[in-house]
């Protein structure tokens, strides 16, 4: 029984990271109908920035914030200068460009920082907490993950629900033409949306790196789990991204714990296929399925 609770807690902690990746995918998908596959590389790149700052004795939290700001700028610049020119073309073009960005950024990370595995400091202990005499599978770092993700989600909730800017971003995402007609600067909202999405990706990268190590494509696996989470959530709902991430994290933790950790990737694909077959519009989507 102790195993069960441990797997559950690990699942929640990992799931929150997947939620962040899913959120990064959802924020972009719902305004542009593009799946940003480059998110993995953007997260890794931002994490490398933090790692090299920490190497130069910059305090952990300063490096953490710097990486988030870098992620934001990288995302915003990608939208403005790379994605904008293909925006009016078929979404397939944008997806191909995103995959190109993924390969380019991962290769650049390899050129700059080298391709070998390295540690990324976690600042908080990774050793399981002790309650009574029993050692739990979650650590101070897992509590840090929970705190960061909850704060970030609340901040985004406030932004989207209670500010003018969030209202304009929602309007731009739902009906860009109408929003334009009402004087909303839709282009800027898109740039901002990509910035926020990639900042969320950067946070996911920083939180995942102590567990999966840091190397140029360390986030590829996490991207697949995050993508699964986004699909479960319905691709256009931030709340769906959170719940999808938790479900994916917990399910994979049980699969890895009871059936063997080699099966986690397989498990993610099985979940993905089952969800796409049974409920292609996801659990939380307000969209009806599109017929093609």
């Amino acid at each position: 029984m102790r195993n069960f609770w441990n797997f559950l807690l690990i699942g929640v902690s990992n799931g929150l990271v997947y939620s962040l990746v899913a959120l990064g995918i959802v924020l972009i998908y719902r305004s542009t109908r593009v799946i940003n596959f480059a998110l993995a590389a953007m997260a890794t790149f931002s994490t490398f920035i933090a790692a090299s700052l920490i190497d130069r004795n910059v305090p952990y939290f300063v490096a953490f914030l710097a990486a988030i700001v870098f992620g934001f700028l990288l995302g915003a610049a990608t939208e403005r200068f790379v994605m904008r020119p293909v925006e009016s073309k078929s979404p397939l073009n944008a997806v191909i460009v995103a995959i190109g960005m993924l390969i380019f950024l991962e290769a650049m990370a390899g050129v700059i920082w080298g391709a070998k595995l390295r540690n990324f400091p976690s600042h908080f202990s990774l050793i399981g907490l002790k309650i009574g005499g029993a050692r739990l599978a979650i650590s101070n770092f897992d509590l840090f993950i929970v705190t960061v993700v909850v704060v970030l989600l609340l901040a985004l909730l406030v932004l989207f629900r209670y500010t003018k800017l969030g209202l304009m971003m929602r309007a731009s995402a739902f009906a860009p033409e109408v929003a334009r007609l009402l004087g909303v600067r839709v282009g800027r909202m898109l740039t901002l949306g990509w910035g926020l999405a990639c900042a969320a990706g950067a946070v996911a990268g920083l939180l995942a790196a102590p567990k999966v190590f840091l190397f140029p494509n360390n986030m590829d696996g996490v991207l697949i789990f995050g993508f699964t989470a986004a699909i479960i959530g319905g691709l256009d709902s931030p709340v769906g991204a959170l719940v999808g991430g938790l479900l994916t994290g917990v399910a994979l933790s049980f699969i890895g714990g009871y059936l063997g950790s080699d099966l986690e990737n397989v498990g993610a694909f099985v979940i993905l296929v089952v969800v796409l077959m049974a409920r292609p519009e996801g659990i939380f989507s307000s969209m009806s399925a599109r017929r093609v």
Partner: protein, 277 residues
């Protein structure tokens, strides 16, 4: 607000000396042509709308009325010809810029956001009143929150003006069509436009609602310029001071309602060729 000199609310429109009906104060469309492939949607169309008047655009289906509106609000780039708004050439301007210059438009399909409450729908229209830029909004929550309150108040006032403030928290699909129309109109007016382009505002309205709409248009026209595309001739003849008639993308007649009514070309466009007896 005076359209020409931007004085805040002169005591009465006539007290503002700058208020002259010159082209610098209005919208003018000059020799505009639009082609979609081989189809000529607009063929050297010219039109001049002044503040303080209602300019009607009528014509049979497919005459190019909506295309003309799409050009005037920046959705469609004309292949040739120029647009001059408030004395400024506006070639190639995007809709959001035009809206910020003071040109508002309602859509035939209303274009309300179905999943946002009525109040938020109208608040989006008030965005162009906003002073806080994206960067400041992200950095400081203070100005953003007070700004949000300001937008909320402006939106409530606009809804109140249309008499639909009671529906502020409802979602548009829950409301009767006539109410939705008023919400869309409130959304267009909340930005304090100098010009309002109305695309078939009467479609789907009852006789009674249409009378109310006519009163409203006349009332609004004392404060801003209106261009009206409409099929209901009673309404058009009642509220318009000038009318342009389009047929197959060309202006075939122009003038006061009485002149247009008497023009045989107009009757022909609507009813077909006169039968030779």
């Amino acid at each position: 607000m005076c359209a020409k000199c931007h004085n805040e609310a002169p005591a009465s429109p006539t007290l503002c000396q700058n208020r002259r009906m010159d082209s610098k104060a209005g919208l003018s469309v000059d020799e505009v042509s639009v082609r979609f492939g081989g189809l000529v949607a607009l063929d050297r169309v010219s039109l001049e709308a002044a503040p303080g008047e209602v300019h009607g655009v009528i014509g049979p289906n497919g005459a190019g009325k909506t295309t003309l509106f799409n050009v005037m609000c920046g959705f469609v780039k004309p292949d040739s010809g120029t647009l001059t708004f408030f004395g400024q050439k506006v070639h190639g301007l995007r809709p959001e810029k035009l809206t910020r210059m003071g040109v508002a438009r309602t859509l035939q399909g209303l274009g309300l956001f179905p999943r946002m409450p009525v109040l938020e729908n109208v608040m989006i229209g008030a965005d162009s009143l906003a002073k806080v830029g994206v960067l400041r909004a992200l950095i400081g929550a203070g100005p953003t929150v007070s700004e949000e309150r300001h937008l909320r108040a402006a939106a409530m006032a606009a809804l109140d003006r249309m008499g639909v403030a009671g529906y502020a928290s409802k979602l548009p699909p829950q409301l009767p069509y006539a109410i939705q129309k008023k919400v869309a109109l409130a959304r267009a007016l909340v930005s304090n436009p100098r010009f309002l382009l109305l695309d078939e505002p009467a479609s789907g309205l009852s006789e009674e609602d249409m009378g109310e709409l006519g009163d409203l248009i006349l009332e609004l026209s004392s404060q801003l310029g209106i261009v009206l595309v409409e099929h209901h001739m009673d309404l058009v003849m009642r509220v318009c001071s000038n009318i342009s008639v389009l047929d197959f993308g060309r202006v075939i007649a122009e003038g006061t309602p009485a002149e247009v009514k008497a023009n045989p070309l107009v009757t022909e466009a609507y009813l077909g060729d006169e039968v030779q007896a």
